[in-house]
Amino acid sequence: MAAPLFRPPGDLTDFDGIPHQREAWDATMTTFFLQAIQRAEQEVGAGKAQIFDAVHALPQPSLTEATIIWNGFPKTLLDGNTHEQALQLAEQLLSFRLGGRTVQARPQDEYLEWHATRDTSGRITAVDFTCEGPEYWTALAHGYPDSVQPGAGAPPAKGDLDAVVELYRKFVSPSVQKQDLLHNGSYDPYNAWNIQQGAMHLTHPSNSLQAEVFLAGDASVLREKNGQLIEDDDELIRCAQYGVPTRSSDPTIGGSVNGLARTGALVSLAEPVGLYIDSLDTTGWTRPDGSPVGDYWTILRGSPTAVVRARYEVPASEGFAVGDIQIGGEPIAFPGQVAEAISMKLTGVAGEQGQHAAPPVPCVSGVQPLVAPAIISGAPVEMLFQHSRAHRHEVVV
């Protein structure tokens, strides 16, 4: 029987026709978890981490799932701004230096990003939402994410750049050309079709799968202050510094994972590991005639329970557009108004409760670097596959 592999987010099938691509994805995710385990072990000691690789653990523990929910609109923009200011700010691209050039990314940092299509009058006609991590797309283009460098024993996947182009043409614009997506001959996550002209996948520096896995791993470490176990989500993220405390997502994810770890369980993320759109709540949304809107939400990628791409667009037969819809009497003037009604989710798993409680450790001193900047700088993360494949069983069993 073949060894189990990490599945692609949303059980997407783009890797299926590419030689060794699913194995390469498994190796990538395996390494992310290995790194997360190592980060935790630095805190609690070798062999004591409560985060584990739930795919390759032997024997497989019986797992219970815990769904974690947060709002899709950036809380960091709402704090300190008026509502309208926050909606405007959500559409203003960030600029930063990366590899000697200036790139742009969206300020949408809750693992949900979007792009609005407007007509010539400025009225919104559609909003595309994505929560696909950049690692998936760079892997699809070249075999492995930019942030990892396969060692000699890694599965020899090369990706399929043409597949990337076809997906852009299907979901962003038929006008996309291969060269539009490249920078120095490689797939460029910051290409115009993914930033200014559309949203194929996540771009905000904090929005990555690696960040998600590291957050879960760091949050699996129990913390104490003055000899008292910390249980408060705000206090935990301040103590462990495992994310951005002003976001909705990071304190929520971290607090929930830590809550599972406090039961003395092994903890991990449910397969397929990913960040997902949970639901859109259109309660109180009305057509121009005041009647309730229909279901204009189309899931484009992922599975019904693991949605990674969706579009909100009124069918032409209705005779009006998204911008004509009112939410409690307010017209949809910004795509962020739709995002505010979206709940995001990921699913944690826990097993062998009561058997793995590591002693709590003191708070992190100094400022820990966030995960994401490693991706921005392009600094490669060494992958030692032979080590990881041997090690993962040692760690999780």
């Binding site: 219970t64 799932e65 815990a66 769904t67 974690i68 929910i69 947060w70 709002n71 809380k75 704090d79 300190g80 008026t82 509502h83 202050k225 003055n226 008292q228 176990l229 910390i230 249980e231 408060d232 989500d233 705000d234 206090e235 935990l236 993220i237 301040r238 405390p245 002003t246 976001r247 909705s248 997502s249 990071d250 304190p251 929520t252 607090g255 929930s256 809550g259 949970d278 639901s279 709540d281 259109t282 309660t283 109180g284 949304w285 009305t286 009647s291 309730p292 939410i327 409690g328 009497g329 307010e330 709940s343 989710k345």
Partner: protein
């Protein structure tokens, strides 16, 4: 400079100018809501000018409440021996526009207030069918056929005094020289048989935030009395056991607000000057007239309990316990995490103990292992024991004792994180509830209309009342998923009509409680703004609108 228990010195409130119902609450046995429409504007301004000196400021209401509390502590129940009668007024956006201008109203940073409750009803989940009783088209007050510009709230300890004052005020405002017309009058009284309980039989209003702020330059002249020994680690954040302190700008415009976590909320976030400027020291008021169908609620409870009690894991589930699981408290007010199996009237009667619990940490704050020590220099409220000897709370993050969908947990997740992050974010969503029952009790007049005049004050209708209603009460997976659940007591779902609560038995197995029936129906209300008394006197009654 710091306060007595650490943290920043709290601001001195404009106690002579802020209307008293917002920050202190009238706390009367008898209350009257007179909903009004502006007729001739000039006449209305003149009658309002005559009303302005009679409006009850925070200072008066607070001092009386303190006196009442002291006397009650010393003498026990004192019905009829101490009485005051208060008057407050608030205006809808249309009312303010009539008395000032549209341009003034446009400056308010609250779209919900500007659009009004009827326009927002669908967002709150109210019925979308115009024929449905809960649709604004059929509201008795505040709907498109029954628009409202203002509400006058009169409260009194004495029914006779209330009647006299209401007659006087209504005559002043709606008489020949009044300029207003009455749209709807709603008398409210506490239940004579069960004071403090709403019509379904549950004690209401137990959990309110403590408000930071002082009434004078004296360092300890706190609006909200502090009952915790300063040495207790909770003393800086709680005014009484289980009652977190919140900076007053979350309820009144222009005052210091809560910090955004992770910033330490012992220090306030700076006050934001309100727009328009005369809105300072005012507060947004939401009123929802909610009709309660007691027979439908009790019928559902009895029928559903009988069905559920046959399921493995829920054997013996009584109707009383099912109702408590839906509410999150027993009828006495005893919380489920301290009284999981049966009501505990002694616990429910102790205002401090009944509110002292958390969901993640038993006592609501990491690092605490018991109830806080109370000061011995201040008399405790009636019914409060100096030492909490009631059953200790049990942490319940998974919702085994108190379901995630239970009403009290939906609107106040306490120390549990939410879809917005850690629990300190929740303090920025709290409201000051001032609801009162209307209509006779069910036992004496089963066919009469009854319900709750839900009322709450806040600094932002969008971010507080509406957020709680739309994002937490109505949504299945928020504030907490796993397993989540709708607030079966008051949630509305215009889209699906079906509401589902999840119960978790002791083995961890989940049981679904779903219904299409409703027992709480909105029948009116409005979004109001209660200005400072000086703004009523100097701005709203001015012959020319402010420039």
């Amino acid at each position: 400079m710091t306060g007595a228990a650490g943290g920043a010195l709290e601001p001195v409130l404009a106690a002579g100018d802020i209307q008293g119902d917002s920050l202190s609450g009238f706390r009367k046995d008898h209350q009257h809501y007179e909903f009004l429409k502006v007729g001739d504007v000039a006449t209305a301004k003149r009658s309002l000018a005559r009303l302005a000196p009679r409006l009850s400021p925070l200072a008066d209401v607070h001092m009386f409440n303190r006196l009442f509390r002291h006397m009650r502590t010393r003498r026990g129940e004192i019905p009829g021996t101490l009485s005051s009668t208060w008057i407050n007024v608030a205006f809808t956006s249309s009312g303010l526009a009539a008395l000032t201008s549209q341009a003034e109203v446009a400056q308010f940073d609250d779209e919900a207030f500007k659009l009004g409750l009827a326009a927002r009803a669908g967002k709150l989940g109210d019925p979308v069918d115009p024929q449905a009783e809960g649709h604004p088209a059929r509201w008795v007050v505040g709907g498109p056929q029954t628009p409202v510009d203002a509400v006058v709230i009169v409260g009194s300890d004495s029914a006779d005094n209330l009647a006299t004052t209401v007659t006087d005020v209504v005559s002043l405002l709606t008489g020949t020289d009044g300029g207003f017309t009455t749209v709807w009058s709603e008398p409210c009284d506490v239940r004579a048989d069960l004071p403090g309980h709403e019509h379904f039989g549950f004690r209401d209003g137990i959990s309110q935030p403590g408000i930071r702020g002082r009434l004078s330059q004296d360092a300890d002249s706190y609006l909200t009395p502090r009952y915790l020994e300063p040495a207790d680690p909770r003393a800086a954040r709680f005014s009484r056991p289980g009652q977190p302190l919140v900076w007053p700008g979350e309820f009144v415009l222009g005052l210091p607000r809560q910090q955004v976590p992770p910033a330490d909320d012992l220090e306030p976030a700076p006050a934001v000057p309100p727009q328009p400027a005369w809105a300072a020291d005012g507060s947004f008021l939401v009123i929802r007239r909610l009709r309660q169908d007691v027979a439908a609620f009790t019928g559902f409870i009895e029928q559903t309990a009988a069905q559920l009690s046959e399921q493995p894991g829920l054997e013996g589930l009584s109707p009383q316990r099912l109702a408590a699981l839906i509410v999150g408290r027993w009828p006495s007010g005893a919380p489920l995490t301290r009284a999981p199996d049966a009501d505990d009237p002694d616990l429910g009667a102790d205002d401090f103990a009944a509110n002292d619990f958390g969901y993640v940490s038993p006592w609501g704050q990491s690092g605490t292992s018991g109830p806080p020590e109370l000061v011995t220099t201040r008399p405790l409220p009636h019914g409060v024991a100096p030492h909490d000897v009631h059953p200790r709370p049990v942490a319940d993050a998974g919702g085994l004792l108190c379901p995630h969908g239970a009403h009290v947990r939906k609107i106040n997740p306490r120390d549990q994180g939410t879809d917005l992050g850690g629990p300190r974010n929740t303090l920025r969503r709290r409201i000051l509830r001032r609801g009162m029952p209307f209509g006779p009790q069910h036992a004496t007049a089963p066919d009469a209309s009854r319900g709750l005049m839900f009322a709450c004050y806040q600094a932002s209708i969008q971010d507080q009342f509406e957020f709680l209603s739309t994002n937490w009460v109505n949504r299945f997976s928020a504030p907490r998923a796993d397993p989540g659940g709708a607030d079966l007591l008051i949630a509305e779902s215009a889209a699906t009509a079906r509401r589902t609560l999840i119960l978790v038995d002791k083995s961890g197995k989940q049981h679904e409680v779903a219904t299409l029936a409703t027992w709480v129906t909105p029948t009116g209300g409005g979004y109001f703004f209660a200005p400072a008394i000086s703004a009523v006197r100097d701005v709203l009654t001015a012959e020319t609108p402010p420039s």
